[in-house]
Amino acid sequence: MEYDVVIVGGGPSGLTTAIKLKQLNSDLNVCILEKASEIGAHILSGNVFETRALNELFPNWKELNTPIKTKVTKEKFLFLGKTKSLSWPTWLLPSVQQNHKNYIISLANLCRWLAEQAESLGVEIFPGFPASEILYNEDGSVKGVATQDMGIDKEGNKKDSFEPGIELIGKVTVFAEGCRGHLGKQLIKKFDLDKGKDPQQYGIGFKEIWEIEEKNHEEGLVMHTAGWPLDNSTYGGSFIYHAEKKQIFLGYVIGLDYKNPYLSPFDEFQRFKTHPAIKKIIEGGKRISYGARALIEGGFQSLPKMFMPGALLVGCDAGTLNMPKIKGSHTAMKSGLIAAEAINEHIKDNKDLSNFEEKFKASWLFDELYKARNVKPSFSWGLILGIIFTGIDQILFRGNLPFTLKHKHADHETLKSAKEMPKIDYPKPDNILTFDKTSSVYLTGTNHADNQPVHLKLKDPNLPISYTLEAFDEPAQRYCPAGVYEVQRENNVNKFVINSQNCIHCKTCDIKEPSQNITWVTPEGGGGPKYGNM
């Protein structure tokens, strides 16, 4: 099937690109492929939303019935010690971390709303159809994508229900898969888009939604914490956003550049909830949702070139998240706005897609990412030095220091040998405040059709046992937030088991596996989590 523009991914950047394209020229044929069973079902985000890009997309959005309702009314920042907490005055926070103009939203619901707008403008949205392969023209330019075959069994044979994938050809193809898109990753390599850039940096973000007691709920309150349970050398922190209907969005982000292979991000998050300052908020409440997703932390230094012949990368498929702001939705949407303008001029006036770069450099998005660039690398010196440096960089110099710090290592290179690092003894879940992975994954509604090929591919199937187990105590058992990977011992032989049906599509394994031995590919359409208002 042929379109003017084929968009891969129905998140904030892809939907914004589609809507803007139709606003610029309603005659353009635009389609969006989405791997989830419906728009929003694979979206997971904090989310404190800055409306800057939305203001540009729909200047009248306040008159439309958007799911953006809860204005931020109060902010807190806590440093946590093991049992104590220290409140940091918000006026001493850099302006990028002040949220009083922002809203607490569910990004999944915003995407559902954006999808309605896109469809009413004539965009064709196909949920349940993952793009699994990039198609190229003879001259090497991107021609489009092919969707995944459906109805293939574990051994790769066609079942009776087999339905072949479809080729979608676009004058321009936009890749908007989000962080660590599996096609975006291939494009970055093929077109050398990250040449001269620092290695990309990632984090893993957890989120739970809790319904809490009325007396503990303060709609509009935004709270962040740093410190316990992480040590000084591990980058991370929490968020607690009081949304409407007595719900709070509670989450934790940990930089995937952590060094100790025994660290379990999931268990750090669970343990975090037992801190007295947190416990008192959620005590008596009920956890109703759980999810996790990798996110971009590299920022400006790691941002690849976003255009190539026939295609663009937008949002976090490239990596437009603003780390010190802990926000990527408005920047993803802005990259979509710029992409739509560049594509429209490309199709209408035959301007080269490199036009995107000029527009990007002239935009507030570039300015924002530039000023934010030194914060994350400074935390490689530890939490305390990082905070001191960030104060100088963000408050005194407003991001304009005359140098740029570098990201030195990719996240898969940072693990130290298991022998050198201390084991971590995590407390057992109490099933009231803290939970195990199995009951957590249950809340995500994750399912993959039975009898399909494993979508987590091992380059060397023996490596997990022959090398990674000995060297790093196979950290996949711990970094995976869904319990996909297990080392089972049977008759004194270790076996690496992949429970791919549990995969919640967070992509952490693809990022953190020390030998880059695991590749995440698309499973059969519609598989994965079914998040509600994440």
Binding site: M1, S37, E124, D160, E163, I166, K530
Partner: protein, 249 residues
């Protein structure tokens, strides 16, 4: 032969159901909805019969709110020819659905009515049977195999004791079991085509059917949480506990 297939929009079977805090019902906001799984089997079977040249038209009908259109579009994407949406707001019980379907049958004059054996949301397993009574048609419930004959159907039924094969004359109602077939995937080109297929919208009130609930729902509760298990040291201890604590033997 013309086949009418009733499809229902329900909460997706993968979603963990959550009870509202005031016990007045279950949470449906922002929850993924899908076609009731055995209704997918009903559509699949009707489409297969049409593909075998034994039916001329497959009409999908759904009773529910505006968004049930999505369920009809899914049926159209896997091969139904057109759709009918009977719009009702709020809860609707099987009796009212059967009365609505009776009106649709009188209007459409199908030879067969297919539907899932029961819906996974209320688990009622009543609509097909009540519709058969209202129309005074034969019924074949829990069908796991259907053979179309000259003026009858040979239907294999999944019953407690095993399988039962019966023959029903046409016109007839068939309610479908999950074992009946493997529903096909909707392909992209067929989803596109389905967008252009006609869907007629009717208000339930225009059919003259009283859809008022006959059942008063008092409260909805989550099943009690299972207690953690214990380990016993010996068979004797197990027997003793089963006798004295669990009181099951």
């Amino acid at each position: 032969m013309k086949i009418l297939v009733a499809v229902k929009r329900v909460i997706d079977y993968n979603v963990q159901i959550r009870v509202k805090e005031d016990n007045s019902g279950i949470v449906t906001d922002n929850v993924k909805m899908s076609t009731n799984p055995p209704d997918d089997n009903a559509i699949e079977e009707a489409v297969k019969i049409k593909e075998a040249g034994k039916a001329s038209e497959v009409v999908a009908v759904s009773v529910g709110e505006e968004k049930a259109q999505e369920t009809l579009r899914k049926a159209l994407a896997v091969g139904a020819d057109r759709g009918i949406l009977v719009k009702v707001d709020g809860a609707i019980e099987p009796l009212a659905v059967s009365k609505i379907l009776q009106k649709i049958v009188e209007k459409e004059k199908p030879d067969l009515v297919f539907m899932g054996k029961q819906a996974i949301d209320d688990d009622c397993n009543q609509t097909g049977q009540m519709l058969a009574a209202l129309l005074n048609w034969p019924q074949a419930t829990f069908a796991s195999k259907i053979q179309v004959k000259e003026k009858s159907l040979e239907v294999t039924r999944e019953i407690d004791e095993g399988l039962e094969t019966i023959e029903v004359s046409v016109p007839a109602i068939v309610t479908c079991d999950l074992r009946l077939n493997e529903p096909r995937y909707a392909s992209l080109p067929n989803i596109m085509k389905a967008k252009k297929k006609p869907v007629e919208q009717i208000n339930a009130s225009d059919l003259g059917v009283d859809t008022k609930p006959r059942i008063e729902q008092i409260k909805v509760e989550e099943p009690p949480k299972r207690k953690a298990g214990i380990k016993v040291a010996s068979v004797e201890e197990l027997v003793q506990k089963l006798k004295n604590e669990a009181k099951v033997i």
